[in-house]
């Protein structure tokens, strides 16, 4: 499934939070990382390990203090707010632990939203509705188009969020604890959906603290104290360390 095309290339990346005049915290400490197109990678680590910081930088929500982050062949380390917003819109699909759907918008409208902010793919309303409907049908919610988030179960809401993440055809799906708020059955369904997307060639990075969730990916990164402590491949549940 994986190709040699690099989606993520992180070189010697450091993130330091300046807490005061004298105090600073190094959240990420000279990290190097490559993720190829079509990989399903999970990032594991306890809280405070730096995995959230890593996810924020990978998601273009934050800038590195030093080092380089190349996303889909483009250096995005030091872009301004507008440029990063456009990168997020065009190249990254976010899936959050708490779904983060707009409460007052229907499922269909929530999925349409990223297309509204798109600067590259000009679409008419009819096209947007058509594509959003297709995306929702793909995640199995073809009959829930006009439901508000509060009228949907947690699993269904997360499916809407996944449909939203896919709608602008991003190069990377970034899922932050996607099953964290779900019961185990709904969680399994979401992970299965991510599997399906992976099999269709999507590149997925999933952040989790749960080892059982992490093993659904075919590569597991362990982050500890701001460094990548372990980089393992997963062959049918058997983890082996990448040297």
């Amino acid at each position: 499934m994986t190709s040699e095309k690099k989606i993520i290339e992180i070189n010697d990346l450091t993130k330091v939070y300046q807490m005061g005049e004298e105090v600073s915290v190094t959240a990420l400490d000279h990290i190097n990382l490559e993720i190829n197109e079509g990989e399903f990678v999970s990032i594991m680590g306890p809280s405070g390990s730096g995995k959230s910081t890593l996810m924020n930088i990978v998601g273009c929500l934050d800038h590195p203090t030093s080092g380089q982050y190349i996303l889909d062949g483009e250096d995005v380390s030091h872009l301004n707010k507008v440029q990063t917003a456009l990168i997020r819109n065009n190249k990254i699909g976010f899936v959050f632990q708490s779904y983060n759907l707009l409460a007052r918008a229907t499922a269909l409208h929530n999925v349409i939203l990223p297309m509204i902010y798109s600067r590259f793919k000009k679409t008419t309303w009819a096209e947007r509705e058509k594509r959003a409907r297709e995306a929702l049908e793909m995640v199995g919610l073809g009959k829930r188009l006009s439901h508000l988030p509060k009228e949907l179960s947690g699993g269904q809401q997360q499916r809407v969020a996944i449909a939203r993440a896919l709608i602008n055809d991003p190069v990377l799906i970034l899922a932050d604890e996607p099953t964290g708020n779900l019961d185990s059955r709904s969680g399994e369904e979401i992970l299965e959906l991510l599997h399906t997307l992976h099999q269709r060639g999507r590149t997925i990075v999933m952040v989790t603290h749960d080892p059982e969730t992490a093993v659904h990916a075919d590569r597991v990164l362990h982050v500890r104290d701001g460094r990548i402590a372990k980089d393992e491949t997963n062959h049918n549940g058997v983890l082996s360390v990448i040297p």
Binding site: N56, G59, L61, D62, K81, V82, A85, L86, R88, N89, N90, F94, F96, N100, L101, L102, A103, R104, L113, P114, I116, Y117, S118, R164, N168
Partner: protein
């Protein structure tokens, strides 16, 4: 994002909490309505004053003595600096003049048989009164030049006064007692109504010479004699106005033995009087409009307040929008559009209330109003400006939010 999407999102924001939006708009509604109503009431008052002054007659000149001249310290110049009855007669000889009128007023009790009316305005005037003051005679005749020359004991009644004294009796040639003297009624004026605050119909008109002689308190009579305050001149042709003014100035200079440059008399045209009067009203109107505008600003502060609350409440939503690709520009527009929608909707409702209120005021006679189209534009534009001015800060606050903080806001 194109305009329809921005408007859609803003509409969604406004309708999300309807009561709150309406209460916020109320400030703008009141401000805009107040500005429009204040301006229309003051414009109505101005129009009234102008109409009343126009109603005094047409093509009038008012010759008055300056206040600064005369007085006890200037006794030597007093005769030179004051207007006298013969001045009026002299002005009447200037070509191009259709009438000259001057007055000396008093207040007396008027009695006919058992009917008594107290404190009647006694107007000592000249033969040209009906022409100059545009107040024609109803029945009988007005005071003639011969009455003036003879200081005749004749009187012309205002129509209301005639009605009050005589009822159904024909007043012509009847005797009335005015103060201490008996006068013969020679005429009744046609009803004229109230003009410029004066009820023309409740007055009694006597030859001015008779008033000089009989109705000036004796302790003053020796000093003031036939001195008068104002001479009203009616000019035949509007285009001759300036020429007539010059003629009057020359004549007065000659009669009072003064240079034309240092004449202690002022000659104003009707439009001068209208300008002075309306300037006062309009200054007052401007002041009131400024007060109304302050309430518009207060409305703007209300919008700003509620937008700040809205930004805080929707921090999470802002974070989500940022994560899926909204630029700071998009976020700023979203909230600015919402503030604008509040202020413009409020402005529109305010225009309706203001115009409606003005029309109701006019229809019910509470105040005469003239809705000034400019005031609608002004008030509406102010509402828009208030929306942009007070909406920008909250919108910018939203746009500058850090996406990570916004996403984790609880």
């Amino acid at each position: 994002m194109d305009l329809s999407e921005i408007i859609g999102i803003a509409w969604d924001g406004v309708t999300n909490n309807k009561l709150r939006s309406i209460l916020t708009m109320l400030g703008v509604i009141i401000g805009v309505a107040a500005v429009i109503m204040v301006i229309s009431v003051s414009a109505g008052t101005e129009a009234n004053i102008a109409a009343q002054i126009e109603n005094l007659g047409t093509n009038l000149l008012f010759v008055t003595q300056n206040f600064t001249a005369g007085g006890p310290r200037n006794r030597t110049n007093e005769t030179q600096n004051s207007l006298y009855y013969p001045d009026a007669a002299a002005i009447a000889t200037i070509p191009g003049i259709t009438g000259v009128e001057t007055e000396r007023n008093a207040s007396e009790t008027v009695q006919y048989g058992d009917n008594t009316v107290d404190s009647v305005a006694v107007i000592g005037t000249t033969a040209d009164f009906p022409t100059v003051r545009d107040s024609p005679i109803g029945e009988g005749r007005f005071i003639a030049q011969s009455d003036l020359d003879q200081k005749a004991t004749v009187a012309v009644l205002g129509s209301t006064l005639a009605q009050n004294l005589f009822g159904s009796t024909d007043p012509i040639d009847q005797k009335v007692i005015v103060g201490n003297f008996q006068m013969t009624v020679i005429g009744v004026l046609a009803p004229r109504g109230v003009v410029g605050g004066t009820d023309y119909d409740a007055r009694i008109y006597l030859p001015i010479t008779t008033v000089f002689q009989r109705y000036t308190p004796s302790q003053f009579a020796r000093v003031i004699g036939d001195r008068i305050n104002t001479i009203v001149v009616q000019v035949a042709d509007q285009s001759q106005m300036d020429n007539v003014i010059l003629q009057i100035q020359l004549l007065l200079a000659q009669r009072h033995n003064l240079s034309i440059d240092s004449l202690p008399f002022t000659i104003r045209t009707q439009s001068d009087v209208i300008t002075t009067q309306t300037a006062t009203t309009s200054a007052f109107g401007t002041l009131l409009a400024a007060v109304a505008a302050v309430s518009l600003v207060v409305g703007g502060i209300g919008i700003m307040n509620i937008m700040l609350v809205s930004v805080t409440e929707r921090t999470r939503e802002i974070g989500v929008r940022q994560a899926i690709g909204a630029t700071p520009f998009d976020i700023r527009w979203q909230f600015l559009a919402e503030a604008l929608m509040l202020s413009l909707t409020g402005g529109l409702l305010g225009v309706l209330v203001g115009v409606g209120g003005s029309l109701i005021f006019n229809a019910t006679g509470i105040a005469s109003t003239v809705v000034v189209p400019g005031s609608i534009v002004l008030a509406f534009a102010s509402a828009a400006a208030v929306g942009i001015f007070f909406g920008y800060y909250p919108a910018n606050t939203a746009a500058q939010l850090d996406p990570i903080d916004a996403l984790h806001y609880e």
